[in-house]
């Protein structure tokens, strides 16, 4: 019996030469819980997060959503509930608005409509005017791009966010904006889960309720 929203059980991932990149790693995120995954670079943090999002094939273990293994045909639906965000925001050609609207054209989100008011309200809370939506994506700073990627994800009302060092290489202002956005998203509705990957333990302490530590592909704490 598992009360977890998202759970990794005995995850194993091998390199091509057969060496384990991740070995027997387990992790569970309960509703409302914020978990930080920390460790030095190369410890397997990002690989674990990608495995949780089912983005990479794994050679051992399984990923469960609300206690059930995620089978192949349910993967898009699962990824719409547990959204993974890249370390460096991935934006497409076009304006900020066009970028935020990208997922609305996917079959899994077909019932959703573009809510300009909601997007504008979010931007206002970040001190940006509604015309920010018209800005070409290629003109955005790293921090702004990360904000757009974040808004694009949270408009889909995910239950879990999987964030891979979202503030790496950003200036202090941008770090504060992103941290604030993540915190307000999490507090907005009860039961939302968060997995925050980072190497800054002080920040991990701010962003999460508990910490999971990896070393050389194994869970050590």
């Amino acid at each position: 019996m598992s009360a977890a929203l998202l759970e990794a059980r005995g995850i194993g991932r091998r390199a091509e030469d057969g060496a384990w990149l991740l070995e027997d790693v387990s992790l569970a995120v309960a509703p409302g819980e914020r978990v930080a995954v920390v460790g030095s670079s190369g410890a397997g943090k990002s690989l674990l997060l990608r495995a949780l999002a089912r983005l990479d094939p794994i050679q051992a273990g399984e990923v469960l959503w609300r206690g059930q293994p995620v089978v192949a045909e349910e993967v898009p639906g699962f990824r719409a509930r547990a959204i993974y965000l890249h370390q460096r925001a991935v934006l497409f050609e076009g304006s900020v608005e066009e970028n935020i609207r990208v997922p609305l054209s996917l079959a899994i989100h077909s019932g959703r409509e573009w809510d300009e008011g909601r997007a504008a309200a979010r931007l206002e809370s970040l001190g940006r005017e509604p015309r920010f939506l018209d800005k070409p994506a290629r003109d955005l700073s790293g921090g702004e791009a990360q904000i757009v990627a974040f808004l694009r994800a949270i408009q889909l009302d995910p239950e879990v966010l999987l964030l891979d060092e979202p503030t790496a290489a950003l200036d202090q202002d941008a770090v504060r904006s992103i941290e604030g956005l993540v915190r307000s998203w999490h507090a907005e509705r009860g039961g939302r889960g968060l997995v925050w990957v980072g190497h800054d333990r002080e920040q991990a302490g701010r962003m999460a309720d508990r910490e999971v530590r990896l070393d050389a592909g194994r869970r050590v704490a």
Binding site: E16, A53, R54, L55, D56, P57, A72, V75, P76, G77, R79, A80, I83, Y84, L85, H86, R88, V90, F92, V102, P103, L106, A107, I108, H109, A149, R152, A153, L156
Partner: protein, 232 residues
């Protein structure tokens, strides 16, 4: 430069002389036991050549190329021999070999361009493909744009040559027929049929190989297996 020109000229003479001798023998024998294996060999060489020209490869690319080139060129040449030209017997080497050769030469181009573009697009846009998957896209939704661009790239040469045929260039086959004294209108008629055959085979082969590549590079779990793409 002079050396390369000399080598190229010598190869032209030797290769054409050799194929002339082979064709002379095949035309004289007129046996399906000779014609069919020869056609298979031609398709095999074309399938291998298509992959040799690509910058990036993945496991299974050789099989994908062979399956696509065999299926497209044999189907189209078969339709031409049985339904359009109505040759009797169907394996008459005087028709079967040159028709297949013309179809293969062009299909090979389409397949190799399509494959090259597919692996290039997917490598350079890996983060976008993954971002779509992470937002809940199916593997097809994530790959659709690269797949579309690859098919389009594979079709460019044949579409271009269909656009300019007769204006800028007179195709080799038609030139040959004219030189051999065939009535120009008759030669044109043949050429039109040939162009359509080539275009259909190229379309079939390019779409086929790109879709096979897509299935290799995206797992049923909607994962993009980017590790499989390697520089050759």
């Amino acid at each position: 430069m002079e050396r390369r020109l000399l080598v190229a000229a010598t190869r032209t003479v030797l290769q054409l002389a050799l194929i002339g001798l082979v064709l002379d023998w095949v035309f004289a024998i007129r046996s399906p036991w000779v014609v069919v294996p020869l056609m298979a060999l031609m398709a095999l060489v074309a399938g291998v050549a298509a992959v040799r020209r690509t910058d990036r490869r993945y496991r299974g690319i050789w099989l994908n190329s062979l399956v696509s080139i065999f299926a497209s060129s044999w189907i189209v040449t078969g339709v031409a021999l049985l339904a359009i030209v109505r040759v009797r017997p169907w394996y008459d080497p005087q028709y079967a070999i040159p028709l297949l050769g013309m179809v293969l030469g062009n299909t090979l181009n389409g397949i190799s361009l399509g494959l090259d573009r597919l692996t290039e697009e997917l490598s350079s846009r890996r983060d976008r493909v993954e971002a779509l998957l992470a937002l809940g896209a199916t593997r097809w939704e994530a790959a659709r744009e690269p797949v579309r661009r690859s098919v389009r790239t594979g079709m460019i040469p044949i579409i271009n040559s269909m656009m300019i045929v007769g204006i800028v260039s007179i195709p080799g086959m038609m030139t040959g027929q004219l030189l051999a004294g065939v009535d120009p209108l008759n030669a044109v008629e043949y050429q039109i049929v040939i162009m359509f055959l080539i275009a259909s085979a190229t379309a079939l082969g390019t779409v086929g190989v790109v879709l096979l590549g897509y299935r290799r590079l995206f797992s049923p779990d909607h994962q993009f297996l980017y590790q499989q793409i390697r520089r050759s």
